[in-house]
C-alpha cells in the first residue's frame, strides 16, 4: 500500500465523526437527557471538527477534488499554520475533543469515530504526511482566457503562408509544448 495517503481517509472519517457528534449532541440536548451539557459540548466539538476537516488537503500525487465551497475555510485553516498543517497535532486534538463526549451514551459513537480518525491521522503523521491548502491556480493568459466560453469545435483557421514560420514562440505568453490550460474546466474524468 505504498501510495496511500492515510490523511485522506482520516479526513473523511473525522468529518463523519464531527457530524455524528453534532447529531448525538442534539439528541441529548433536545431530549434534555441527564447531564445534557455534555451534549451541548458535543455539538460545539462537532462543529469545530467539521470546520477544521471540511477543506480537503492537497494530495502529494495527482489532483485533488475540492469539496464544494471549501476555499473560504481553506483560508481560515491556513492561518493557523503549523497547528493545522501538522497531523500529530490534529491527532491529539481529535483525541482530546473526543474524550468528554464519551461520558454520554448519545455521543459515545461520535467519540469512537473521532478516536479512530485520530488514530488514522497519527498513522499519517508518522508517515510524514501534512496538510497543504488547495490554492486556485493563477490565470496565465488573462487576455485570451476571459472571452472563450467553450473549446472551439472547428479546426483552427489556416494562417497565411508568411506567418507559418515559428508560430508558437511569437504568441504571447503561451507555454510551448504543454497541453492547453482550458479556461473553463473541461471534465474528461475517466470512469
Amino acid at each position: 500500500m505504498g501510495q496511500i495517503e492515510w490523511a485522506m481517509w482520516a479526513n473523511e472519517q473525522a468529518l463523519a465523526s464531527g457530524l455524528i457528534l453534532i447529531t448525538g449532541g442534539i439528541v441529548a440536548t433536545a431530549g434534555q437527557f441527564t447531564q445534557w451539557y455534555l451534549g451541548a459540548y458535543s455539538i460545539a466539538a462537532g462543529v469545530l471538527v467539521c470546520l477544521l476537516e471540511y477543506p480537503r488537503g492537497k494530495r502529494s500525487k495527482g489532483s485533488t477534488m475540492e469539496r464544494c465551497g471549501q476555499k473560504y475555510l481553506t483560508r481560515v485553516v491556513k492561518l493557523f499554520g503549523p497547528l493545522t498543517r501538522n497531523y500529530y497535532i490534529r491527532a491529539f486534538l481529535h483525541l482530546g475533543l473526543a474524550v468528554p463526549a464519551g461520558f454520554l451514551l448519545a455521543t459515545i459513537l461520535g467519540t469512537a469515530c473521532l478516536a479512530i480518525a485520530s488514530g488514522i491521522y497519527l498513522l499519517a503523521a508518522i508517515r510524514g504526511e501534512q496538510w497543504s491548502p488547495i490554492e486556485p491556480k493563477p490565470k496565465e493568459r488573462p487576455q485570451i482566457g476571459g472571452t472563450i466560453k467553450q473549446p472551439p469545435s472547428n479546426p483552427p483557421p489556416r494562417p497565411p503562408a508568411e506567418a507559418r514560420k515559428k508560430p508558437s514562440e511569437e504568441a504571447a505568453g503561451v507555454p510551448t509544448g504543454g497541453p492547453q490550460e482550458n479556461p473553463m474546466p473541461v471534465n474528461d474524468e475517466v470512469v
Binding site: 473523511e12 455534555l38 451514551l105 483552427p156 508558437s168 473541461v186 474528461d188 474524468e189
Partner: protein, 568 residues
C-alpha cells in the same frame, strides 16, 4: 417528450422506495396501535414505534444489499434469461448504483433507529431510578418480585448517564449495536469517491467489515429487550380496562399483574438467504480463480499502457464484457476489473491496462515490462481471472444504427465491439443487424491514441478492401490542444491522411457539437431505432441522455435514440 423504454432502473428504484415506505408505515402501526404494546407505549411513547419501523426497513435493505454484488449469480441469471431479456439485463447492470442507494438507506434507517433507542434507553433507565413520572416508575417495578416478568428491560438501578452506558455494554443489543454501527461508518467513509478511486486497497479491505456487520446484525435482537404483553396475559388483563388503576393490579380479579415477553429476533430470517448466496458467490470466485490462466503475449504500448493476451480453458466472452483479474505475485487478495479489448472471435482474450497505481505498477514489473530483453514465457506471473461479466454493450448488434461514444480510456469496450463487428461483417454473420456505426472518441491529448489508432487504421484498410468505407464513420475529438499543435494541424489541413493518427478521417478539435450530430444522424436514418452507447463521465451521460430524448420522435414511428450507459 419522454423517452419511455430507456430507463427501467427507475421502476426498480420506485418499487424499492415504495417497499421502504410501506414497511416503515406498517411496522410503525404494529407497535403504535395494538394493545400488546399498550404498556410499552406508556413507558416509551412513540419512540418505541419510531425504533421498530426503521428496524423493519433495515431488515429489508440489509437483505438486498448483498445481492447486487453477487456478480456470478447475476451473470447466471442474465444468461438463463436469453429471450426478451434486454430489459432484465439492463436492470441487473445497474447493480452498483443500486448497492450504493441501498447502503445510504441503511445509513439513514440506522440513524433513526439509533436516535429512537437513545431516547428509549434514557427513559427506561430514568424510570428505574425514580427520575420519571409515577406511572412509568410503577410499570418499571413490575418484574422485581419473583413471579413477575418485566416490562422495562433495565433492571439495575444505576442513574444516567452511567446507567445508559452500562446498558450499552452489558446488553447484547447494545454491544452489537455500537460495533456494527462503527463498522458501517468505517465502510462508508472508506467508500467515498476519492478513496475508492485513489486508494482502492483501503476501500476494499475496509469494506470487508461487512462480515462483522452481518454477524452482529443477526444476533442483535437475541436478548429480546423489546417487550410486549403476552397473548395469555391480554386475555386476563385488558389494558384499556385496567390501565387506570395500576395500584390495584393483582388485588382485583379482572386486573392481575400483566405478563410480558420479548420479541423473538426476526432479522436472521431476512438476511440468512442473501448471506448464503454471497458465500456461494465468493466460493465460485475462488474456484474460478484456481483455474489456470496462461499469458500468451505481453505488449507494451506507449504512454504507460500494457496489453496482456491470455488463454483460459473454457473461457467464453461477449463484446464489451469485463473481467476481474488477480495477480498473487503482486497482491494475494486484490481483484481489479478490466474491460476486455479482444473480440469473441479471436482465440485469445486481452485487456489493456494503464499503469496508474500500486497494483498496476506491480503487474508491470511482474510481467517484465521494465526490462528490455525478451522475456521467457515461464517467467510470466500466474494470473487468476473471474468473469466475464456482462454489460449493456452486448445489445449493440441488435440495432441497425449505433452511436458509440468513448471518453478517454472509456473507449476500451468499443475496441472489443469494433473488432467483433468487423469479424462478423467479414464472416457474414446472420445475427448482425448493424449497418452503420458512428463512433466518437473524446480524449484530452494525442498520447492516449496509439494502440487504438492501430486498430482504427487496420479497420480503415480492411473497409477499403471490401469497398465499404461507409460502414464505420468515426470522429476523434481532441479536447485539449495547444498553439504549436494547432499550427501544425493548420499547415497540414489539406493532406489526405490525418497527421496525428495517420487515419484518413480527420481528427477534430474540441468537443463535438452533439446537437448537430444527433440531428444529422437522425435525418439520415428516419424511422430507425438508433442505439447510443457511452463509456465516459456523468456529465457527458447527462448531455447525451438529453439529446436522445429531445431528438427522438414521440410516436412509435420515426427515429428513436435509445441511451445505454456503461457502468464500471
Amino acid at each position: 417528450e419522454k423517452n419511455l423504454p430507456a430507463n427501467e432502473g427507475d421502476t426498480r428504484d420506485l418499487v424499492w422506495l415504495g417497499m421502504n415506505v410501506f414497511l416503515f408505515v406498517w411496522y410503525y402501526r404494529v407497535y403504535d396501535i395494538p394493545d400488546k404494546f399498550f404498556y410499552t407505549r406508556k413507558l416509551l411513547g412513540s419512540a418505541l414505534a419510531l425504533a421498530r419501523a426503521p428496524a423493519a426497513c433495515l431488515n429489508f435493505n440489509c437483505m438486498l444489499i448483498l445481492l447486487p454484488v453477487c456478480r456470478n449469480l447475476l451473470s447466471f441469471l442474465r444468461g438463463s434469461s436469453a429471450c426478451c431479456s434486454t430489459r432484465i439485463r439492463r436492470q441487473l447492470d445497474r447493480n452498483l448504483t443500486f448497492h450504493k442507494m441501498v447502503a445510504w438507506m441503511i445509513a439513514l434507517h440506522t440513524a433513526i433507529h439509533t436516535i429512537a433507542h437513545l431516547f428509549n434507553v434514557e427513559w427506561c433507565v430514568n424510570a428505574r431510578v425514580n427520575n420519571s413520572d409515577p406511572y412509568s416508575i410503577a410499570l418499571s417495578d413490575i418484574g422485581d418480585k419473583p413471579n413477575e416478568t418485566y416490562l422495562n428491560f433495565v433492571r439495575q438501578r444505576i442513574k444516567n448517564p452511567e446507567g445508559g452506558l452500562y446498558v450499552a455494554v452489558t446488553r447484547l443489543a447494545g454491544i452489537t449495536g455500537v460495533v456494527i454501527t462503527l463498522c458501517l461508518i468505517l465502510i462508508i467513509t472508506s467508500s467515498t469517491k476519492t478513496i475508492r478511486r485513489s486508494y482502492f486497497e483501503v476501500f476494499w479491505y475496509t469494506h470487508h467489515l461487512f462480515v462483522i456487520f452481518f454477524i452482529g446484525l443477526a444476533i442483535h435482537g437475541a436478548q429480546r429487550i423489546v417487550r410486549g404483553q403476552t397473548a395469555e396475559s391480554l386475555l386476563k388483563h385488558q389494558p384499556r380496562n385496567c390501565y387506570q388503576n395500576i395500584s390495584q393490579w393483582g388485588k382485583i380479579e379482572n386486573c392481575p399483574i400483566p405478563e410480558f415477553s420479548g420479541n423473538p429476533p426476526m432479522t436472521w430470517k431476512w438476511i440468512v438467504g442473501p448471506m448464503f448466496l454471497y458465500l456461494c458467490e465468493r466460493l465460485v470466485r475462488f474456484w474460478r480463480s484456481q483455474q489456470k490462466v496462461v499469458i500468451t503475449k505481453v505488449v507494451t504500448h506507449p504512454f504507460k499502457t500494457i496489453e496482456l493476451q491470455m488463454k483460459k480453458k473454457g473461457f467464453k466472452m461477449e463484446v464489451g464484457q469485463y473481467i476481474f483479474v488477480k495477480c498473487p505475485v503482486v497482491s494475494k487478495l486484490e481483484w481489479h476489473p478490466f474491460t476486455l479489448t479482444s473480440a469473441p472471435e479471436e482465440d485469445f482474450f486481452s485487456i489493456h491496462i494503464r499503469i496508474v497505481g500500486d497494483w498496476t505498477e506491480g503487474l508491470f514489473k511482474a510481467c517484465g515490462c521494465d526490462k528490455q530483453e525478451f522475456q521467457d514465457a515461464w517467467k510470466l506471473p500466474k494470473i487468476a481471472v473471474d468473469g466475464p461479466f456482462g454489460t449493456a454493450s452486448e445489445d449493440v448488434f441488435s440495432y441497425e444504427v449505433v452511436m458509440l461514444v468513448g471518453a478517454g480510456i472509456g473507449v476500451t469496450p468499443f475496441a472489443s465491439i469494433l473488432k467483433s463487428v468487423w469479424y462478423k461483417y467479414c464472416n457474414k454473420a446472420p445475427n448482425l443487424r448493424l449497418k452503420k456505426i458512428y463512433f466518437y472518441w473524446l480524449c484530452r491529448d494525442t498520447h492516449a491514441f496509439e494502440w487504438f489508432a492501430d486498430l482504427l487504421q487496420l479497420l480503415e484498410t480492411q473497409m477499403q478492401e471490401k469497398n465499404n468505407t461507409d460502414f464505420l464513420s468515426y470522429n476523434i475529438c481532441l479536447t485539449g490542444w495547444d498553439e504549436s499543435q494547432a499550427s501544425h494541424f493548420a499547415m497540414h489541413h489539406d493532406e489526405e491522411k490525418d497527421v496525428i493518427t495517420g487515419l484518413k478521417q480527420k481528427t477534430l478539435y474540441g468537443r463535438p457539437n452533439w446537437d448537430n450530430e444527433f440531428k444529422t444522424i437522425g435525418s439520415q436514418h428516419p424511422n430507425t431505432r438508433i442505439g447510443v452507447f457511452l463509456c465516459g463521465p456523468e456529465a457527458l451521460a447527462d448531455t447525451l441522455n438529453k439529446q436522445c430524448i429531445s431528438n427522438s420522435d414521440s410516436g412509435p414511428r420515426g427515429v428513436h435514440f435509445i441511451f445505454n450507459k456503461e457502468n464500471f
